[in-house]
Symmetry: D2
Subunit: 331 residues, 4 copies
C-alpha cells in the first residue's frame, strides 16, 4: 500500500501496448513515424499550433523549456518550493549556464503577480543585478493546488507587460486539467512553454515539452541532443505520449488519481494543510501517528516534521485508499 | 531490409519480459531493487569492483563518464572520428563546461600512444594552453574495428605515465568482446570508466556507465540528476541492463550481429575500407551502385561520397543478409 | 564632496610611483619580478604560507577564489546581502558553472554558524538537493560591520566540522584589520581563501586572491587565464599591491577612511542603522533630508527608501567630512 | 634588448599623462565622463556608428565579442593558429559555455572563404553536429600578415551569405592599419565586432570591443560584469584608449613598430617564414644560431624548432634593432 509518489507507479496497459506496437524497425532518433505525429496531436489537443519534443524526465523538460526564455546571465522567478529550485539537484543552473532562480512565496505554492512584482521591482536594471527573464509556475502546484484560469490570465498579462517568458511545470498538468474540467489550453493559458508530464500519469519515461510558438522548438532540438536526451529509439517515447493523449487516457488516469486523493482526505479535513485539488494530500500527522500508519503497512514520505505527503496515482487501488482513509480516521 | 543502424533495432523479447516484470510498484529513481543489483552484477562480469549508473543514451554515458576525469579547463584526447567529437552535438562541451576535445588521427579510427604523444608533447604546460586530462577511445571503433588487449595495455600504460584518465566509449563494446573472445575486462583493460552500450544490442533505452574505481561513481550520481538523467522509474533501465548481462544475452546478440556483418562482407573484400571486426561494414560504392542497392530495397546511410555504411544488429534476418551479399556481389 | 563609494577614489601617490617604477620592460603575464615577490610578501604579512594571484576586480577575485572550493553541482552559503549574491551580475553562476548561492540572514550582514546550520540541516544529502560546499563571508560586511576574531573562530570551526570551505570577501579587509587592530591573519582566521581588496584602498585596479593553502593557487592560475584575467603587463598589478602592503600603507589608508567615517557618524548616532566599524555609514534620512544634503553638494547613494549610504576613502578630505557632519547635524 | 613580445612593452608617456589626468574622483564602473566618450570617438574613427566596451585583456575582448554571435551549442570557425584556439587557455569554451572552435588552415595564418566552405559544407545541418555561427579572423594574423581589403570583402560576403557572424581579433589591428595605409573601417570591413588592441601599442591594460551594430553592445555589458571585467575605476581604461586614438597616437606607434620590424628583416629575406607586414618577424634559425644571438644579449621566443619569433614595439630602440639586424646578418 504505497503512497510515496505517483512517479514510480506502474505503466498503463495501453501504454505498454503502444510501446510494443512501436517495436518494429523505424528510423532512429526523432525521425520515426510516431514522433512525426506529435506536433499535430498536441496542436489539436490545445487548439493552437504547437512544437513538441519528447524527453525522458521532467527535470530535462523543465530545463530545456527554460532555455528558450532565459539567457545565461538572466533569472527565472519561481516559488520557493518549485521543483526546479528544490528538487532538481541544480539542473537549471547547469542547463541555463548559471542563470539564477529568484524565489517568491505564495500560499499553496502558487505565486501571484503581486509577489513577483514585489521582488522584481527592487531589481534596478543595471549590470550589477541579475535581471529576470521568465516566470516558472507549477500546475498543479507543489502543494497539490491548481491555478484557476483567471489566475493564469493575471499572470500571463503581467508577464507580457514585463516582457517575461512564462513557463509551466506541468508534471501533474493532467491532474490540474481534470480538476478544472476546462479545455487544456485554458489550464495553461498564456504559458509560452509547458512541461507536460506523463510519467506520473501512466507513462514509463516520456514527457513532452510543448512550445506554443512552434518556432521556439527549433533551437531546443539542438540543445536536447547536446544534453544527451535524444534517444535513438525515440519512437518508444512518442508511443507512450500518443497512447496517453489519444482517447483522453491522460484525463481518465488523472481523474482516477484525483478521485482517490479526495477519498483519502474526506475524513481528514482538519488535518489538511492544503485543499486537495489534484492527487497529493498533505496531512498533519505526529511522529507517533506516522509510525502507526506505517505499522499498518502504508508507505508515504515525511514532508517536514509532523507532515506526511500522500500521493495517489492512476492505479491506486480502491481498497487501499479506503483502508488508508479509515486508518487516518482511526488515529 | 534496413541496414541503417543498430541503434534503432527492435528490443529483444527477453528485455521486454524483464521490463514487464519490473512493472510493479517500487521505490523511485535509483532506489529500486533492480538498480541495487547493478554494482554487483558488473563487478562479477568484470571480475573487479565496479560502480555502475544507468542512463538512457550513449551521449549521456560518455559525457558523464568524462566528468570524472576532466575539469572545465582541461582537455580530452580522442580520434577525429570519435562520436564525442563528431556526433554528439557538442555534448562534451556542455557537460564538461567548455573543456576541449583534442583530435588525433589513426587508422581504422583507433588511436595509438604515439599519436597522442605527438599531439600532447607539443602542449607546453602553461596556463595559455589547455592541458590534456584524459584520453577517450571507442571500442569497437567508429570504423568498426577492435582494439586488441595488447593495444589497450599500451594505451593504459601510456595514460598512467602521463597521468591521463582513460575512458572507453563502448557503444558497441559487446561486439568488440564477441570479436575478441576474451574476458570483458580484457577488452577494456586499463579504462577508468566505460560507457557500456546496450541500446544497439537489444535494449530500448538503457546504457551503463561503469566506473572501475567505484568511488568515482559517487559524484557522478549528483551530476546525472543535475543533467536530468535520473529517471523516476529507473527500475526499467536496470531491468533492461540486467536482462542483457545475465546469461550472456549481450554476447549472444553481439555474436549474431557480428556474424551477419561478416556474411555481408564476405563477397566484397575488395570494396571494404576497414576489416570487419564488429557489426559495421564500410563499402566503397559509387552513386550508381548505391542507387541500385536502394532500388532493390536495401536501406543504409551514405558515409561520405562513394562509401556506404551497412550495420547489422542482433535481429538482422539471415535472408536479408544473404540478399544483400548477393546484391553487392552482383554490382 | 563625493561620498558615493571608495571604489572610485583616487589612486594613492605611492601606488602611482610604484607603477611608474614598474614601467621598464619585463617578462609578460605573471613572469615578472614583481609578481614573483607576491607569495613571500603575503606569507610574511599573514605569518603563514600563502599562494597569491592578482586580478583586476573584486568580482573576479571572489569567483576565482570560490572555484577552489565549490564544484559546479555545489552550493555556497552566504548572506542575502553578500556582494556575490546581490552585486556581481550573477558572476558566481558563471565562474562556478551553475553552482548555487544559498542565502542566510544575520544582523549587520554578518552570518553566524547557527544561521548556516539552520539552513543546511534541512538539506537532505541526496542527489535531488544541491549540497553546500563552502561558506562565503564579507569582512567588513556589506553593512560596514566587522567580524571579531572569536566570531571567525566559531565560523571556521563550524566549517571544518561540516567539511565546508571558508571564503572571505575582503573588499574592505584593510578597514576591518584597522578596526580590529589585530594581526591580519586574526582578522581572517580559518579562511581558506581571501579576496584581499586594494582598489577601495588606494590602488587603481589590483586585488589579491590569497590562498592559505598555497597549492590551491595552482589550478586557479589556469582558471584566471581562462577567464581573461591574466594581464600581459601584470607587473603593474603586482606593483600596486606591493606598494600598498609594504610599509603598512594599506593600514594607514584604511585607518584614515575609518576615522573620517566615525567623524561623519559622531553627531548622528540616532540615525545609524549599523555601528560604524569600517568606512561605511548607513543613515536614516527622509527623501527631503537627502535632497537637502544633495543641494548642499554632498553626493551619496540611496540605499533603499529613507536610507543613505555614505562611504569615506583614504583621501576623503577633513573639511568635506566636517561639512557633512555639520550638515547632517543641521537636518 | 628584448624582442620577446610587444605585449609587455612600456606604457606610452601620453597614456601615462591621460591616466593621471583621470585620477580625480568620478563615478564608478563605466559611469565616468571618459567612458561616456568612447562610442562617439570610435564612431568618428570608423565613420560608422559603434558601441564600445573597454576590458583589460585581449582574451576577454575576443570572448565577449564572440558571445554576441555564438550560442553555447554553436561553433566558431578560426585558423588553427588563432589566439582563441592556441593561446587563451580555453577561454572561448568558458565564455561561450562549451561552444566549439572549428579549425581551418591557411597560408600565413590567414583564412579564405574556400577553406571555410570546405569545412562547413561537410557539416550536415542536423542536431548531431555542432553548427557554425561565426568566423573569427586575426588582423594582423598570428604569422604577422595582413588581410587586404579585398580579402575582407570576400570573407564578409561569404559570412553574410552563410549567415555567419564575423569577428576580428585585432590585437595588432593598429599594425595592420599602419601597413595598409587605409581607413580603419576598410581594415576590418564587414566585421560585426572587433577586438581593438591597445595593450601591445602603448597602453597598460585596456582593449576596446567595438560593435559595429551598437545595439549588440547592450547585452555584452551584462556579460562583462558577470565575467568580473567591469572595473570600478574604469575611467583609467577609457583614458588609455582615448589617449591612443586621439591625434592618431595608435597609428604613430604602430608605424614605428612596423618600421623597426622591417629593419630587422631587411637583411634576412632568406630566413623569413612570412612576409613582414606588421611587427612580428619569424626567422629560420638553428639552435646554434639562436644561442649565438642570445649570447649577444637578444631576447626572443622560440617558435617551434628552428624558428624564432622577433617582435618589435612602439618603443623598440633604433640601436637595438640595428644591432639585431647586424647580428642576424653575421650569422
Amino acid at each position: 500500500m504505497q503512497f510515496h509518489s505517483d512517479n514510480a507507479a506502474s505503466v498503463h496497459p495501453r501504454v505498454w501496448q503502444a510501446m510494443q506496437a512501436a517495436d518494429t524497425m523505424d528510423m532512429g532518433y526523432d525521425s520515426d513515424a510516431l514522433t512525426a505525429r506529435l506536433d499535430e496531436a498536441f496542436s489539436e489537443l490545445f487548439g493552437v499550433p504547437c512544437g513538441v519534443l519528447w524527453v525522458a524526465t521532467g527535470t530535462a523538460a523543465n530545463c530545456l523549456a527554460l532555455t528558450s526564455m532565459v539567457p545565461p546571465e538572466g533569472g527565472v522567478v519561481c516559488h520557493r518550493k518549485a521543483h526546479i529550485e528544490a528538487d532538481e539537484g541544480g539542473a537549471p543552473g547547469f542547463y541555463l549556464h548559471g542563470a539564477k532562480l529568484m524565489l517568491v512565496d505564495g500560499e499553496h505554492a502558487k505565486i501571484a503577480p503581486q509577489a513577483i512584482a514585489a521582488l522584481i521591482d527592487q531589481i534596478r536594471d543595471d549590470v550589477h543585478r541579475v535581471q529576470p527573464h521568465a516566470v516558472s509556475i507549477t500546475q498543479a502546484s507543489e502543494d497539490g493546488c491548481v491555478y484557476r484560469p483567471e489566475e493564469l490570465r493575471a499572470l500571463s498579462t503581467f508577464c507580457e507587460e514585463r516582457e517575461l517568458g512564462l513557463h509551466m511545470d506541468g508534471a501533474r498538468f493532467a491532474n490540474a486539467v481534470a480538476f478544472l474540467g476546462c479545455a487544456p489550453r485554458e489550464a495553461c493559458q498564456g504559458a509560452d512553454a509547458l512541461s507536460f508530464g506523463f510519467v506520473k500519469n501512466g507513462a514509463m519515461n516520456a514527457e513532452a515539452i510543448v512550445f506554443f510558438d512552434p518556432e521556439k522548438a527549433h533551437r531546443v532540438r539542438y540543445l536536447r541532443k547536446r544534453a544527451g536526451h535524444l534517444q535513438s529509439k525515440g519512437r518508444f517515447l512518442a508511443a507512450q505520449i500518443l497512447a496517453l493523449i489519444e482517447d483522453d487516457l491522460w484525463l481518465d488516469n488523472a481523474r482516477k488519481a484525483n478521485a482517490t486523493a479526495l477519498q483519502v482526505g474526506c475524513n481528514a479535513a482538519d488535518r489538511l494543510l492544503h485543499p486537495i485539488e489534484a492527487n497529493e494530500i498533505f496531512l498533519r500527522l505526529s511522529a507517533n501517528e506516522k509510525a502507526e500508519l506505517r505499522k499498518r503497512g502504508f508507505g508515504f514520505h515525511d514532508w517536514g516534521e509532523n507532515v506526511a505527503r500522500i500521493v495517489t496515482a492512476w492505479n491506486t487501488r480502491e481498497e487501499d485508499v479506503a483502508a488508508l482513509a479509515r486508518a487516518v480516521a482511526d488515529l
